[in-house]
C-alpha cells in the first residue's frame, strides 16, 4: 500500500514556522520540509533531535591524535632513533615539542574530514545522486511542507489552507 501525502507550499518562512507549529499541535506527522535556505529554529519547531555530528568529530579527533602519536613514536623513536641535529630521540616525551605541530594537524585533519564524510553518509549525499525535492521552486523562494495523510484528507487540507498555504497538492509517496 502506498501512502498519500499532502504537499503544502508556502512563500514565507515565518508563515511556514507557524504552520509547522500548528500542524504539530493537531497531531499530524510532518514527513519533510523543503526550504531554499536554513530557517532558524525550524528543527526545534519540528521536534527533530539534536545532531550528534559534533560527538563524532571529537572521537575522530582522538583517532587522529592517536594515529599521529603512534606513527611518530614508531618512526622517530622505535624504528630508527637517529640523532638529527642533536634532538633527543631517546624517548617520545623528550622529543615531543617537535611532534606537536603534526599531532595538532592530524587531529584537525581527521576530525574535519571524517566528520564531513559522516555528514555525507548520514544525509545520503554523493555525486550523481538524483535530486529529491518535489518541486524545483523550493530551491529558490518557496517552502514546502509534506504531511502524511491518515484519515480525513479534506480536514487536513482545510487546516493547511488555514495556516497560509498558497498551493496544495495530494500525491502518492512511493
Amino acid at each position: 500500500m502506498s501512502s498519500k501525502v499532502i504537499q503544502a507550499m508556502y512563500t514565507d518562512d515565518d508563515v511556514l514556522m507557524s504552520a509547522v507549529k500548528k500542524v504539530r499541535q493537531e497531531n499530524h506527522h510532518i514527513e519533510e520540509v523543503y526550504t531554499p535556505f536554513p530557517v532558524h529554529g525550524l528543527d526545534k519547531a519540528m521536534g527533530l533531535p539534536h545532531t550528534r555530528l559534533a560527538i563524532t568529530a571529537f572521537l575522530y579527533g582522538c583517532v587522529g591524535l592517536s594515529v599521529a602519536v603512534s606513527m611518530m613514536y614508531y618512526i622517530m623513536i622505535v624504528d630508527w632513533p637517529q640523532n638529527i641535529g642533536g634532538k633527543p630521540s631517546f624517548s617520545f616525551l623528550e622529543n615531543m615539542p617537535a611532534f606537536v605541530p603534526i599531532m595538532f594537524e592530524m587531529t584537525v585533519f581527521f576530525a574535519a574530514h571524517l566528520m564531513v564524510i559522516t555528514f555525507y553518509l548520514r544525509s545520503k549525499l554523493w555525486p550523481f545522486k538524483e535530486a529529491e525535492n518535489p518541486d524545483p521552486r523550493t530551491t529558490d523562494d518557496h517552502f514546502l511542507m509534506e504531511v502524511s495523510v491518515h484519515g480525513d484528507e479534506e480536514a487536513l487540507k482545510a487546516l493547511l489552507l488555514e495556516t497560509g498555504a498558497t498551493e496544495i497538492k495530494v500525491t502518492e509517496k512511493h
Binding site: A54, F58, P97
Partner: protein
C-alpha cells in the same frame, strides 16, 4: 541598584586583613644576614651542604648570574663536582650564600608582586575586553557592561600598587629587578655586566617609573572616560555619548596594544633582563584576557544568583564560556610557540629561561598546562556544559589558579630561583589582593544601576539568545 552584601564585605575585609598579617609575618621571617639564614636552615634541618649544593646548582643555569660571573664555566663544573659528592669549589661558597640570602629576602616581595600583578592584570584584561565589545558594537554584551565597569574599577588601585612596588625596587628596598643593581653598570666592579649596560638606555630607574606612570595613565584615563560616558548615556536624550565611547574604545585599543606590550617587557620580562622574546607581550596579553573574561563570568554568575541581573540568560554565559575556552587555547598556542621555538633552536642565551623553569619549577611549569589547557579544553568543549553555572565556576577557578601559576612562573625563577614555595607569603598576598579586589569591585557595582539604560544595543542584548 546593587547593595554590597554584608557577608561579602566581611569576607573581603577578613581576606584583606588575614592576607596582610600573613604577608607581614613572612616579611618578618626573612633572614637578615647570612648567619641568620644558616641558623634558620639548621633549625629546619637543612645542613650547610644541601644549601650550598642548591645555590651552586642554581648558578650554573640562572641567566643573570652565569653571564656576569667571571667563572660561568667554572660554576658549571662545580655543579658536576657536587653531583659526584666531591667538595670542590668551596672558595666560592660565601658568594653563593649571599646569593641565596638575596633570593630569600626577595621571596615575600616577589609573592606580593605576583599577586599584585595578577589582580591588576585581571582588571586590565576586562578593560580590554570591554573596549573590544564597544568597538565591535557587540549586540550580546551590553547587559554585562556594568559588571565589566565594576571590575575595571580595580585598575586604579591595581596600577598604583604596582607603581609603588616598582618605586620600592628603584629605591633598592628589595632586589626584585636584578638590572637595578648599580654595580652591574660600574666598570670597576667585578659584577660589571656589559649586557646590562647595553640595555641601560631603556632599563633605568627613572625612565622605568615614567613609563609605568604613562601606561597606567592611559588605562585609567580610558576607564574613567568610558565609565563617565556610559553613565551619562543613561540620562541622555541622544546617542552622542555612545558614539564618543565608541571612538574612545577604538583609540584606547590602539594605545592599549602598544602600552600592554611595553608593560610586559618592563614589568615581567625585565626580571630576566638577559633574556628576550618577541611574542612575550601577546603571551602576557592572552593570560590577562582569559583571566579577565573568567572573572566577568564569575561575577556575573554571582550577581545573577542574587537575582540582580534580570536580563542575563544562559546564552550570555554560554558566550562568555566560549571566550574562556577559545582564549585558553589561544594562550596555549602562544605559550607553545614561545616554548617550542626556543626549545627547538636551543640557543644558549635564550634557552636558559626555560632550563631554569623546567629544572626548578617542573610541576608549576608543566602543571599549568593541565590547568590552563587540558582542563578547560575538555570541560568547556561541550555546548551544554557551557550553560551550566557550576561547570563555569569550576572551570573559572581552575583557569584563574592556572594563570596565577603562569605569572608565578614568569616572575619567581628570576627573583627567588629554586627557593620557591606556595607558602605563607604567596597565599597571604593572594588573600590580601583578593580582599582588596572584591572590595573595590563590589563597591563600584553599588554606584550605578546594573543595567545600562539607553545603550542602543541594550534591547538586542536583553533578547540575546544563542
Amino acid at each position: 541598584m546593587y547593595t554590597f552584601s554584608n557577608r561579602l564585605r566581611l569576607f573581603a575585609i577578613i581576606s584583606f586583613v588575614l592576607g596582610a598579617i600573613m604577608v607581614g609575618l613572612s616579611f618578618a621571617d626573612v633572614p637578615g644576614s647570612v648567619e641568620d639564614m644558616k641558623a634558620m636552615e639548621a633549625a629546619h634541618g637543612h645542613g650547610h651542604d644541601s644549601g650550598h649544593g642548591e645555590a651552586t646548582h642554581d648558578d650554573g643555569k640562572t641567566a643573570h648570574h652565569d653571564e656576569h660571573k667571571t667563572h660561568a664555566a667554572h660554576a658549571d663544573k662545580e655543579h658536576h663536582g657536587d653531583a659526584h659528592g666531591a667538595d670542590v669549589g668551596h672558595h666560592d661558597s660565601a658568594k653563593h650564600d649571599e646569593h641565596k640570602l638575596a633570593q630569600l629576602q626577595n621571596k615575600p616581595w616577589a609573592a606580593v608582586y605576583v599577586a599584585a600583578f595578577f589582580f591588576m592584570m585581571i582588571s586590565l584584561g576586562v578593560l580590554a575586553f570591554y573596549a573590544i565589545q564597544r568597538a565591535a558594537q557587540a549586540g550580546w554584551s551590553p547587559v554585562l557592561f556594568r559588571v565589566m565597569e565594576g571590575i575595571t574599577a580595580y585598575i586604579i588601585p591595581g596600577t598604583i600598587i604596582i607603581i609603588l612596588l616598582i618605586i620600592a625596587s628603584v629605591m633598592h628596598w628589595n632586589h626584585l629587578f636584578h638590572w637595578m643593581e648599580p654595580s652591574l653598570l660600574d666598570p670597576t666592579s667585578e659584577n660589571y655586566d656589559k649586557l646590562t649596560v647595553g640595555k641601560s638606555g631603556w632599563l633605568n630607574g627613572t625612565f622605568f617609573i615614567i613609563r609605568a606612570v604613562v601606561y597606567s595613565g592611559i588605562w585609567i584615563a580610558y576607564r574613567q572616560i568610558s565609565r563617565r560616558l556610559s553613565l551619562k548615556q543613561d540620562e541622555a536624550s541622544d546617542n552622542s555619548n555612545f558614539k564618543k565611547n565608541f571612538r574612545a574604545a577604538a583609540v584606547f585599543l590602539v594605545l592599549f596594544l602598544i602600552s600592554e606590550s611595553m608593560m610586559s617587557w618592563d614589568w615581567i620580562m625585565s626580571f630576566d633582563h638577559h633574556w628576550f622574546s618577541t611574542l612575550f607581550g601577546w603571551y602576557v596579553f592572552a593570560s590577562m584576557f582569559v583571566s579577565g573574561i573568567t572573572v566577568i563570568a564569575l561575577v556575573t554568575i554571582y550577581l545573577k544568583s542574587k537575582g540582580l541581573l534580570e536580563y542575563v540568560n544562559n546564552s550570555h554565559l554560554h558566550d562568555l564560556a566560549k571566550f574562556m575556552f577559545g582564549i585558553s587555547i589561544f594562550w596555549t598556542y602562544l605559550w607553545f610557540s614561545q616554548f617550542m621555538l626556543i626549545w627547538y633552536s636551543n640557543i644558549p642565551e635564550e634557552v636558559t629561561y626555560f632550563i631554569t623553569r623546567i629544572e626548578d619549577y617542573n610541576l608549576p611549569f608543566f602543571g599549568m598546562l593541565a590547568l590552563n589547557l587540558i582542563f578547560p579544553l575538555l570541560i568547556l568543549m561541550n555546548s551544554d556544559f557551557k550553560r551550566l553555572n557550576w561547570i563555569i565556576v569550576i572551570a573559572g577557578i581552575v583557569i584563574l589558579f592556572g594563570h596565577y601559576i603562569d605569572v608565578f612562573n614568569m616572575v619567581m625563577p628570576a627573583t627567588v630561583g629554586p627557593n620557591w614555595s606556595l607558602g605563607m607569603a604567596e597565599i597571604g598576598a593572594i588573600l590580601l589582593f583578593l580582599g582588596l579586589f572584591i572590595f573595590v569591585v563590589f563597591t563600584t557595582l553599588t554606584k550605578a544601576p546594573l543595567l545600562a539604560k539607553r545603550n542602543p544595543f541594550i534591547e538586542e542584548s536583553k533578547q540575546f539568545h544563542y
